[in-house]
């Protein structure tokens, strides 16, 4: 591949921008004349860390998604705006009871080595991810599939999984119960097909460059850990004609400030996150490159409902909720476009209108007055002040929010002990219930309210506060078996309403995604899941 001019070298720094761009286009013009239009378009993408693996069944993070999602394509895939569109399947039918999905795979679906993508490749992959010995941390995403959980728990054989290759191009998946978000989940990397002929041949080493074959728009060409991953356009991809880029280079850059510097130096076209403190500067200096958009996630404080904690008292939970000035936290303390949250399910979730806490429209004075009387009712006052332990995992932003929260609770006479710890210790302590108030965040695994509300159901592992509400559990149970989307929404809204009226948690803000994108790139669209596939992106002249 002749690389005459890599458009991504154009720096985005004001001032130098115009000069280099001019030089770039001169070079470009020369290149086109000299080589009759052959030029390589390389996208340079800063991902936020080194991938744990390139095996789609051995990852659980977001930055792996950027790479693996370019290499592979599920039955369903994401358009530039995040909409779900047919991927490896060209069509599907859902049975009337909502439990059986029959997919017709595209005839022209091929692995990058030219072998056809067959229904058997999907069956193989789905059985593999549920096999206990494969120890896949994210396998539970696909638990809606019949027998999946039993197999992964070692209680059933992998062959009993509800997937079947009817013929080479017909795949049937049977579910435990109707799951309206199942199609969404099929675009998730856990549901990607695997090249059975390659995985069986190489075993664990199948992800090595030179061995790996994939069915997405790009194929792996190079992987230097902690340095870069290079993927080349996959000529066998069914939509290869529409893929503009010839090459994508992924640079793992953990340090956000470094990513920003390298973006400014023109060494990177897209940085998948930027340092929050630089938002002001970016808005002034690189407004066209700075993308901030709502993100499917909630930042919240868990209120410990276990016996023996003051926060087990709903009055205390309400008072704590009332006195947090969310807009101060989002506007003055964070200031990166975060949105104050009065609900637990973030806005923008598919098929769902959020419920909000009743006090949202009350004035701050009224809220404080109510909070004070609630605290008094609960038996706290100047003689008997409430002491709370607030835990957060070590980070500048978490610290700022925690200090602000402590200050906002002070007028209620609440004394807060701030405790911070590294991530592993923090969540271990949360799990064991060693806290009154604890910082947590949840980014949706899939775009459905159930993925959030599930965190408040009794006995769920991520329900750190051990909140338990029979009526909410019942609503969620019913919703899980409800086919009609409107009825299902109403049930989940009712569940959220109950949790909010009970002040089960303390929502603070909805997350935003923060990307830096070279203004010369087209095809990039902000979306709520912050999923971006390189196949949609191109350099405009």
């Amino acid at each position: 591949m002749a690389r005459l001019y890599s458009p991504s070298h154009t720096p985005v720094l004001p001032g130098r921008f115009a000069l280099k761009r001019l030089a770039g286009s001169l070079l470009l013009a020369g290149g086109i004349v000299a080589s009759q239009g052959i030029m390589a378009d390389t996208l340079k993408l800063a991902i936020m860390g080194e991938p744990a693996s390139l095996d789609p069944q051995q990852i659980s993070g977001t930055w792996e998604n950027d790479v693996v999602g370019d290499l592979f394509e599920g039955l369903v895939t994401e358009a530039a705006d995040g909409e779900r569109i047919p991927g490896a399947a060209e069509s599907w039918q859902i049975s009337d009871d909502g439990k059986t999905y029959t997919f017709t795979l595209r005839e022209d679906g091929k692995w990058s080595d030219g072998e056809p993508v067959t229904a058997e490749d999907f069956v193989y992959a789905l059985k593999r991810i549920m096999t206990p010995e494969n120890a896949s941390d994210y396998a539970y995403i696909l638990y809606p599939i019949k027998n999946a959980k039993a197999i992964n728990s070692g209680e059933a054989e992998p062959d009993t999984l509800g997937v079947r290759a009817v013929d080479d191009h017909t795949l049937e998946i049977t579910l435990e119960r109707p799951t309206p978000y199942f199609l969404d989940q099929l675009s998730h990397y856990t549901a990607y097909p695997l090249p059975k002929h390659v995985v069986e041949k190489y075993g664990k080493d199948w992800t090595d460059p030179g061995k790996m074959v994939s069915n997405g728009a790009f194929e792996l060409s190079e992987w230097q850990p902690q340095t870069r991953i290079v993927a080349l356009k996959n000529p066998e991809f069914h939509d290869a004609n529409e893929v503009a880029l010839d090459e994508v280079i992924y640079y793992p850059i953990e340090e956000r400030n470094s990513a920003l510097k390298r973006f400014r130096a023109g060494e990177i076209d897209i940085a998948r996150e930027f340092p929050t403190q630089q938002y002001g500067w970016l808005k002034d200096n690189l407004p066209d490159a700075t993308h901030v958009a709502p993100y499917l996630g909630i930042y919240y404080y868990v209120l410990n409902s276990r016996d023996g904690h003051a926060t087990a008292d709903p009055r205390v939970r309400e008072a704590l909720n009332l006195s947090i000035r969310r807009n101060i936290i989002t506007d003055k303390i964070l200031g990166t476009g975060e949105v104050p949250a009065y609900s637990f399910v973030p806005t923008g979730v598919n098929h769902y209108d959020i419920q909000e806490m009743a006090f949202k429209d009350m004035s701050m004075d009224e809220r404080m007055q109510k909070a004070r009387s609630l605290m008094e009712d609960a038996g706290y006052g100047p003689d008997n002040p409430l002491e709370l332990t607030l835990r957060y995992n070590t980070s500048e932003d978490h610290k700022k929010v925690a200090i602000a929260a402590a200050a906002m609770w002070k007028p209620l006479g609440v004394k807060v002990n701030l405790l911070n710890a590294e991530v592993a210790v923090h969540y271990e302590d949360m799990r064991q219930g060693k806290f009154d108030v604890g910082r947590a965040g949840w980014i949706g695994d899939y775009n459905d309210a159930q993925n959030f509300l599930n965190l408040l159901e009794s006995g769920v592992p991520n329900n750190y506060g051990a909140y338990s509400n029979k009526a909410l559990d019942d609503d969620m149970q019913k919703a899980a078996n409800t086919l009609d989307m409107k009825d299902r929404e109403a049930l989940m809204q009712d569940a959220e309403r109950k949790a909010l009226d009970d002040y089960a948690v303390l929502p603070i803000y909805y997350y935003v995604s923060r990307n830096l994108v070279n203004p010369r790139l087209s095809g990039w669209k902000n979306n709520i899941e912050d999923t971006h596939r390189s196949r949609w992106v191109s350099f405009s002249e």
Partner: protein, 308 residues
């Protein structure tokens, strides 16, 4: 000397074993495990993972298993970087750390030693004050301040050098990190060299050399330099071990694929095997470099001899 070397190498084995044992059990005592993260895994999945990494076995069993694998040169699979074994991670990352570190040490010696000597012979002159106060500043300013500044000025504003990346260790990519890494070492070595030079210059045999009528340069180069290097050489042992095993700060700021990050990330992620691997590697390296330093001593100072 050969038998001395062998003896020291044999002595290193129990030392390493103590280091390994301590870190193995300390790591397990630390709260939080390798699978504790933002999300709590369903119990059956945690069980599958524990089984895959033999964490479901009793601790003494795991310890013996680790030692058994280690003897065969197997450092085990990384918990976090699942496509790699720990020995692969170290052998892929170490060349970058080594290359960067050796350049930094070389720069530190070539600049630090002469600066220290000049400051010593021009004691209390303007040159001395300039060198020593610059050195003090070099020690005082941490590299997490210097490194981003260098990247900003030379990478972003001037555009002369890449702001980050490795590119196979090209000199353009090496220059800024080497500077950032060596500034502190230059400062240390210059100060150390100055102090020891002043001491040596005050000793009797230097007086004798001068009395014989040797030129001042000859006195310094032939008689004073070698003994004055001793403290620097003994500092170099651990310093080289520290520098060539990478700096997490420099690596993260410049995006260098070294092994420095594994020390920190391994511990934070509770990646037991990765932590153990880096500890074993670092421990062995320190023992080896200390041995080399001791052997160098005898070359620099005729009074030191390793006889049997």
């Amino acid at each position: 000397m050969l038998s001395y070397t062998l003896k020291r190498l044999l002595q290193a084995i129990p030392t390493l074993l103590i280091v390994i044992t301590l870190s193995f059990f300390l790591m397990r005592v630390a709260p939080g495990g390798p699978f504790d993260g933002e999300r709590r895994l369903p119990p059956e999945i945690e069980q599958n993972l524990r089984a895959a990494y033999h964490l479901d076995e009793p601790l003494p069993m795991q310890y013996l298993r680790y030692l058994g694998d280690l003897v065969q040169g197997d450092l085990g699979p990384s918990f976090k970087y699942k496509d790699f074994d720990v020995s692969e991670l170290i052998s892929q990352g170490f060349p970058a750390s080594l290359e960067l570190g050796m350049w930094a040490i070389l720069a530190a010696l070539l600049i630090g030693v002469p600066l220290g000597v000049i400051a010593a012979i021009r004691r209390n002159s303007t040159a001395d004050y300039v060198v020593m106060s610059t050195a003090l500043a070099g020690i005082a300013v941490p590299n997490f301040v210097i490194a981003p500044l260098l990247a900003l000025v030379f990478g972003v504003l001037l555009g002369w050098l890449p702001a980050g990346g490795w590119n196979g260790g090209a000199w353009q990519n090496l220059l800024l990190p080497v500077v950032a890494l060596s500034i502190q070492q230059i400062a240390y070595i210059a100060r150390m060299m100055r102090a020891s030079m002043i001491e040596v210059l005050g000793s009797h045999y230097i007086r004798t050399a001068r009395a014989k009528g040797l030129s001042e340069w000859k006195v310094i180069l032939r008689h004073a330099l070698r003994p004055a290097m001793l403290p620097v050489v003994s500092y170099l042992g651990p310093a080289i071990a520290g520098i060539i095993t990478g700096s997490v700060v420099i690596e993260q700021i410049f995006g260098i694929p070294g092994i420095g990050r594994y020390f920190v990330q391994g511990a934070l992620n509770r990646d037991y095997t990765l932590v153990m691997g880096t500890v074993v590697f670092y421990g062995a390296l320190i023992l080896l470099l200390n041995l080399i330093v001791d052997l160098l001593y005898s070359m620099l100072d005729p009074q030191i001899r390793y006889d049997d």
